[in-house]
Symmetry: C2
Subunit: 447 residues, 2 copies
């Protein structure tokens, strides 16, 4: 019997006016998108009409005047996702929340509450705060260094999962006649005493409908990959070509298995930045239209950040990159070399170079027709490059509309994507088991 | 010209099955109310149908097996209020959030986001965490003592208000042609460096529609009254009779004036626990019905907590209170004496005593008809006892339904309550000014 073809997982990363750095200047952009609830509601409904697995919100805890317009002023993720839960009924709702400047009790509670309010659609993108200035908003003298942030993150996730198990699924009896509201044997204190946290519990929210909201991570560094392989159920990653994607896929799935998990327990979803047109030429023209909206001041600032802060303002935009020495000790040396080599190899002007770099900020750009994109997605999934994609439409709402109206039907025709949601929870969409309560399992073992 | 009669402010304190300790055992209770979104949505719609100023959610950050069923497992307030914002359009949405175990940046952001998502309906009930065991959920060795918690609270509120002013109201220009997204002169770092917090800012949310969400406090202690008089716009309090209420009202309004504020900038809203029936007898019977649902084990535990932990289980429920020595050093000595004197004066049995104490947990009980309640509310407001009330229906949803259907129309007929919302924001309902941005005022001064 032929095996059913593998279904793609598709998420959409919602970001204000879209993921292109100049999207807000496009005539079709909703310029106040980042703070416009009706607009986000419309995006969420479109994504659900396309039967997408989930929508995703990034987050940050500090800004500077140079921050991208999408992040300068925006809604807080838990409140926005709850508002989007109210106008949808199936699509998963994923929020980024940092483990560096919050407490496990608060985060456990917010995701548990969101999972209840959305009937089992919450997911947590676990991150550490990598921007040093964030410490300045949290009374911190000094930002914790990378490996310490990861250790803290790992313990944080363990505490949160433990708190989600505070109440067994059938602990709340609410028996009026006897006056027994809950079964005390099914309410558990966590009594966690670790290196970073001491948390007694129990959590004051019933066990989430999904048992545990879905855990997402985006660690591409070696400690990040290990953390993800041990604890994540979805992995976001940036992969620019199929061989690299295959290598990453193989590396992570091998690590997943080495931690005693099934490879199917983790979906790997690279970001994709699709620019679609009815013809390749139309798509290319659309891309150029966006690229030309990048203000030189913005483009130069981003390019300069790739070149160790080298000041490019004195040089003509349409001339070549000047000679720049690569400092031996620079922390971003490999990225530095990559940019210099690219400029020389392709003989790019400064303007061309910043357009190339600033447009997608390193994400996988796809320029072509809906049919070409559907084929590419199929190729990547069938050839072991990924389990699905995290869409990063350069311009919203139009990039999502076109994807849902023109790419999804093709994927459905090829048998690669659902035509209707099979279940109600995000775990069901992703084919993930609902985790058993840790305390219940202990009881079963002891019987 | 005759002055328009003063309008009452009315909030409703939503709590699971209702505020009576045994409400969940009543046949009309929604036993899973604390975790039932549809139920809360219905309550919110009823309150809005009654043109109430706001609905209010309490909060706590720790539970024990002895906690009240309403608080054992419930939604987190920010997510629940956002879900209620989605099904209402006028009523204010007030959440309790503690200053003891959170960070000003997170709290500023959550309320700002809620205020945007609800179009200007958010209010923050500022509390300090008084339960010592809460520290055990937040890696805290020792709970901070009372005066330190208040100092921290005061600085916390100042930081939050400062963060809300990060963006001036017209800072976000979003001018596509010029590429100017915001006016840099209207984005401000807070640069707060205080005793408890260092917070640079700016906040990554646009200025809230209300400028600042409304600030609520419930401090009845002397430092609490001062803090409230300096910073609060609504004060919740427990007052059991008109003379006490008048004294409190006078004391707080005097303090408000002493801090250079107008007395109208603060609404004082005592809690009221109304048990309503078509006749006094019917109301009394309803009260008895609830009182008799108090389990002896629950009633004894609560009564015992008023008597320094004295174990009453060996004594017959329908007999008198045994002789108990009042320890000289007991911290709750005055409450202790009050209970003993009550028992002796009224010759109450142990059962009668715990019913008296446990039923409303010290709140102002009103038992009578809707017309009697309307008269009482009118009397308190017109005689300087309060500006309005925070309703604490003993049993939900029925206590709120009866209030909205039978008491509100009487207040409206007496010209004491609105027949339609005059404005859209909570500040408008409460007659409060929208605060000017602190940075804008500075500019005005310097011109």
């Amino acid at each position: 019997m032929a095996q059913a073809p593998k279904h793609l997982k598709i998420g959409v990363f919602l970001a204000g006016t879209g993921h292109h750095v100049a999207s807000w200047r496009h005539p079709h952009a909703q310029t106040n998108g980042s703070m416009n609830l009706a607009y986000f509601q419309q995006l969420a409904k479109t994504a659900e009409r396309g039967k997408l697995d989930m929508l995703f919100l990034a987050d940050s805890l500090s800004i500077s005047p140079d921050s991208h317009p999408n992040v300068l002023a925006r809604f807080e993720p838990f409140t926005l996702l709850t508002a989007l839960a109210a106008v949808t009924s199936k699509i998963g709702l994923a929020a980024t929340a940092s483990t560096t400047y919050s407490e496990p009790f608060h985060i456990a509670r917010q995701f548990a509450s969101l999972d209840h309010l959305s009937n089992g659609r919450a997911a947590w993108n676990v991150v550490t705060s990598s921007i040093e200035s964030t410490a300045l908003n949290f009374s911190g003298e000094k930002h914790p260094e990378h490996s310490l942030r990861y250790q803290r993150a790992e313990e944080f996730v363990e505490v949160v999962k433990g708190l989600w198990d505070s109440w067994e699924d059938d602990a709340l009896i609410r028996h009026q006649e006897s006056g027994v509201f809950f079964d005390p044997a099914k309410l558990h204190e966590l009594q966690h005493h670790g290196e970073f946290f001491s948390v007694r519990g129990p959590l004051n929210v019933a066990r989430p409908p999904q048992g545990h909201p879905v855990i997402i991570q985006a660690g591409s560094s070696e400690p990040g990959q290990h953390l993800a392989a041990r604890t994540a159920e979805v992995i976001f990653t940036a992969q620019n070509n199929l061989p690299d994607a295959q290598a990453f896929y193989q590396s992570v799935k091998t690590k997943v298995v080495s931690y005693g998990r099934s490879p199917d327990e983790v979906s790997i979803m690279p970001g994709i930045f699709p620019i679609l047109g009815d013809t390749e030429e139309a798509a290319e023209a659309k891309f150029q239209e966006l690229q030309e909206l990048i203000l030189p001041s913005v483009g130069l600032k981003i390019l300069s950040s790739y070149l160790g802060g080298f000041d490019l303002t004195p040089y003509p935009l349409d001339g070549p990159l000047p000679d720049i020495d690569i400092p031996e000790t620079n922390a971003v040396k490999s990225r530095f070399e990559l940019v210099l080599n690219l400029a020389r190899r392709e003989k790019l002007t400064i303007r061309q170079l910043y357009q190339y770099i600033a447009g997608s900020r390193g994400h996988h750009i796809f320029v072509g027709t809906p049919a070409q994109l559907a084929s590419k997605m199929e190729e990547w999934v069938l050839q072991g490059g990924c389990d699905g994609f995290n869409l990063m439409p350069p311009l919203l709402p139009e990039g999502l509309d076109v994807f849902v109206d023109q790419v999804v039907p093709l994927l459905q025709q090829h048998g690669l994507f659902r035509t209707e949601y099979e279940g109600n929870t995000l775990r069901e969409h992703l084919g993930l088991q609902r985790p058993a309560n840790r305390y219940m399992s202990q009881q079963n073992v002891s019987i």
